[in-house]
């Protein structure tokens, strides 16, 4: 079976959880020997791991016919793809896309990020999808998140092959209910056109059914997993007198940072030897700094700014408790990463990952007393910390992308009528 996937991010150059999930899922699926995956992203950097799948960069696919010679093509994109492939794609341009600004090869310049003109980029991506759909053979289309739904839809229209879409988040999660009508339209059209919808949690599944009016039979939950870390031992905790409780993520409404500050205030009133760290950046960061100052806990509450790559794991490993009081989290992979480095997690029940984790603490995101109580317990009673740590490690090591991949495969088989 051949799958054509449309994504937006792929490691190592990622901006959010979507890239991590795309990587893990495709890697887990690659363990099935009879499955071939072609993964389209707007802009590859060239250092992506292509050992288990083929990556096509949308910015190297011609959408406008340009007369260019072999050597020129080779010098421009030879390190990504062979000029022969370029000509093959060029022969499959069936529509007139000259209205779109292209470069000397007839390719579109994608930012591969989330720019101001995101909607334009999405529709350009759609144009690329039409060329790909004509040029290559595949059995099923798999589109990751709303940015790629239009591309998937177009590919389905052209090829007549079934399309499944993978909902990593909906606009309802990002906006606490104040949805952007454009985004909602794209999401809804994608879901309507899909033959099957996969969601990363039952929470998201409910949103898809209730807010996007999809038939429950058409929606299946495929929980995310986590890649096993090869170098876990590298991340250790250094000796410190104070216990560290960490919030890590975008400092934005969806993640509930203000609840973290409230919890910190409550804990610090009664407990000595505890420090709180808010790592990350975001639109509510300055507001949080002011709030911390107002509460008078700034001496025990620290901001690190944006962390990336290795720093994330270092921060998690140095922490005694990881906290994710998200108001609405489709899945939330970071508690699993914290568990991998042996840090107990407190997560909100409104997080998708709460559905598959047992050895974490789950509370409502607004239940400040409960969260404060658990922090106190983990910090004061070593048995609590050790149990969560040991049981959590065992648990997270059993959550594998391979199993998620098998679930996706069954859905492929179903929509293909096999």
């Amino acid at each position: 079976m051949k799958a054509l996937m449309f994504g937006w991010e792929f490691p190592p150059h990622i901006l959010g959880g979507l890239g991590t999930a795309s990587y893990g899922l495709t890697k887990g699926m690659s363990l099935q020997p009879d499955l071939e995956i072609t993964f389209v992203i707007p802009k590859p950097w060239g250092d992506e791991d292509q050992s288990f799948l083929r990556i096509i960069g949308a910015n190297q696919i011609p959408v406008v016919w340009k007369d260019v010679n072999w050597d020129h093509v080779n010098s421009r994109i030879g390190n990504f793809m062979s000029p022969d492939d370029y000509y093959h794609f060029r022969n499959n341009i069936k529509y007139d896309f000259r209205r779109i600004g292209t470069d000397d090869l007839g390719c579109i310049n994608f930012s591969g990020r989330y720019p101001e003109n995101l909607l334009e980029e999405i529709s350009n991506y759609e144009a690329v999808a039409s060329v790909i759909a004509h040029a290559i053979q595949f059995d099923v289309i798999h589109a990751h998140d709303w940015l790629t739904y239009p591309a998937g839809r177009f590919a389905k229209q052209i090829s007549g092959k079934p399309m499944v879409i993978h909902v990593h988040a909906t606009d309802y999660d990002r906006s606490r209910g104040q949805v952007n009508p454009d985004v909602y339209r794209i999401e809804k059209e994608g879901m309507d056109a899909a033959d099957h919808i996969m969601t990363v949690s039952n929470l998201t599944r409910r949103t898809v059914i209730e807010k996007y009016h999809q038939h429950p039979d058409k929606v299946t939950t495929v929980h995310n997993a986590v890649e096993p870390m090869a170098n876990v031992e590298e991340f250790t905790k250094s000796e410190r007198n104070d216990k560290v409780i960490t919030f890590l993520g975008r400092i934005t409404m969806q993640k509930g940072p203000e609840y973290f500050v409230e919890v910190a205030t409550r804990v610090l009133q009664h407990t000595k030897g505890v420090r709180f760290v808010m790592a990350g950046s975001g639109d509510m960061m300055n507001k949080m700094i002011r709030l911390v100052a107002q509460k008078g806990i700034a001496d025990k509450f620290h901001f690190t700014g944006f962390l990336k790559g290795r720093q994330v794991y270092e921060m998690l490993a140095e922490s005694d408790v990881y906290m994710m009081p998200s108001v609405s989290e489709p899945f939330g992979i970071s508690p699993l990463e914290a568990m991998q480095v042996g840090t107990p997690s407190i997560i909100s029940k409104q997080s998708g990952c709460a559905e598959i984790l047992n050895h974490v603490i789950k509370t409502d995101y607004w239940d400040i007393d409960a969260m404060a109580d658990y922090i106190h317990a983990i910090v004061k009673y070593p048995a609590m910390y050790n149990s969560l740590r040991e049981n959590g490690l065992a648990e997270v090591n059993n959550i594998k992308w391979e199993y998620a991949g098998q679930k996706v495969r069954r859905i492929y088989d179903m929509v293909c009528g096999r």
């Binding site: 409550r266 009133q269 009664h270 407990t271 047992n358 050895h359 603490i361 789950k362 007393d369 404060a372 109580d373 658990y374 106190h376 317990a377 004061k380 009673y381 070593p382 048995a383 609590m384 050790n386 149990s387 969560l388 040991e390 049981n391 648990e395």
Partner: protein, 429 residues
């Protein structure tokens, strides 16, 4: 003649209220009164009163040939006194028939047998006195909380004056032996062991209302038939379960009460009798010894103690709790003594069990916590407050032994003063 020995455990766990860490040091009341009262009321209405009435009828209509014994914890009796005194009256009525025996057990449904011998002895004596006070007779047969037993515990129990003990028929202890005989302690042959037949007990307790069981429905005829079909020499069938099996675990509509009512008729038909544990131990001689090097219980498939002290959370809580024993024994504050009993209940530790947490098993009792971690957090907050209170009684920098000596001197002096005062008064007159 084959005999059936019916025993019922009566106990309701104390429910702790939600106790946050910022209440430590401020709030010294730990219990959810509403939950406790409603649990007792519910159990009394659906089980204890109803079942007592039916058992009483059965005893009377069989001219006292139907016999049954109860192991009621002291805490349960206290709760009855507080919330449902009519239950005590109905037990008293049962006691008057003479066909009912009350068993000795620790006062709280505690694990003291595993952790502290002094505390264990204290609880057993408290319980015996309470039974004597209410039902007029000191118990002679012992059944530990959850039937905890090992060779060592057996010895301790014997030193408290109980020579008959009811133990679990755990497979790893019995091996090829049948539970349906009287056994004796591994090296003290004066101690007689009655072995619970867990198959027959669980058939009634857990499987009676289980539609997917291949023997469903269980009828009195079938049940007595199984006993009749057992080899001739096997003569003692100890059926021991929580009293809640009648009316709560098996709802009234399941026909559980009718099942019990019919038992004596079929039993008499097959020449099978009912006897009390003390009678059985008097009449029979042990056929062999049973040795349990490690503690066993009636819980789970493993029949060991891992349900209460199998993980780090439980061990931490239990160690912290029983470290207090000596200090609590020195205290004279009655509230501390009461809390001390209530905090030892096995249920607190059972809720911290992570063994079955992941597989979503259904238990006989509903678990009031969302996770073992929540149970642990709540319990430890309560315990932290309790520890502070105990430590506040006497300075912690004095060793318990030294403290004991000092307290003795004070008490002796108090007595002396009293004596002298009375003398003084007498002299004045």
């Amino acid at each position: 003649m084959k005999t059936i020995n019916f025993c019922f455990r009566v106990h309701q766990r104390p429910n702790l209220k939600r106790y946050r860490f910022f209440e430590i040091g401020n709030d010294h009341y730990y219990y959810d009164d509403y939950a406790n009262e409603s649990a007792i009321r519910y159990a009394s209405d659906n089980c204890y009163l109803e079942a007592n009435r039916i058992l009483l009828d059965m005893i009377r209509s069989s001219n006292g040939n139907f016999k049954v014994s109860f192991s009621i914890s002291g805490l349960a009796l206290e709760q009855f006194e507080q919330y449902a005194p009519e239950v005590i009256d109905s037990f008293k009525e049962l006691a008057k028939t003479g066909s009912v025996e009350f068993l000795a057990t620790p006062y709280g449904h505690s694990l003291a047998a595993l952790y502290n011998e002094d505390e264990f002895a204290l609880q057993v004596n408290m319980q015996a006195n309470k039974i004597k006070e209410l039902f007029g007779k000191k118990p002679t047969t012992f059944a530990n909380s959850a039937l905890l037993y090992s060779d060592e515990i057996g010895n301790t129990i014997a030193s408290l004056g109980y020579k008959n003990i009811i133990v679990e028929g755990a497979k790893h202890i019995l091996g090829w032996k049948s539970p349906n005989y009287l056994y004796s302690h591994a090296y003290n042959n004066k101690i007689k062991l009655l072995v619970r037949n867990n198959k027959l007990s669980d058939d009634i307790n857990y499987r009676f209302s289980n539609w997917s069981w291949d023997q469903y429905p269980l009828t009195a005829e079938k049940f007595i038939g199984w006993i009749k079909d057992a080899p001739e020499a096997e003569n003692i069938f100890t059926v021991f379960m929580g009293y809640e099996a009648l009316g709560i675990l098996n709802h009234k509509d399941s026909g559980i009460f009718e099942f019990f009512k019919a038992l004596p008729f079929y039993a008499i038909e097959q020449n099978i009798g009912f006897e009390l544990p003390s009678e059985i131990c008097k009449k029979n001689k042990p056929v062999d010894t049973l040795s349990a090097l490690y503690p066993m219980s009636w819980t789970d498939e493993e029949k060991d103690v891992s349900a209460w002290c199998g993980n780090e959370l439980q061990n931490e809580a239990l160690t912290k709790l029983y470290n207090l024993t000596e200090r609590v024994h020195l205290c004279s504050d009655p509230m501390i003594k009461v809390d001390w009993q209530l905090l030892q209940d096995t249920a607190h530790f059972f809720f911290m069990n992570t063994k079955h947490y992941s597989d979503g098993m259904i238990y006989a009792q509903k678990i009031p916590y969302e996770s073992p971690y929540e149970a642990f957090t709540n319990y430890m907050n309560v315990l932290s407050d309790f520890i502070e209170r105990v430590n506040a009684q006497y300075p912690t920098d004095i060793e318990s032994e030294e403290l004991n000596a000092l307290l003795k001197t004070i008490r002796n002096q108090e007595e002396l003063i009293k004596k002298l005062e009375t003398k003084k008064k007498a002299a004045k007159k």
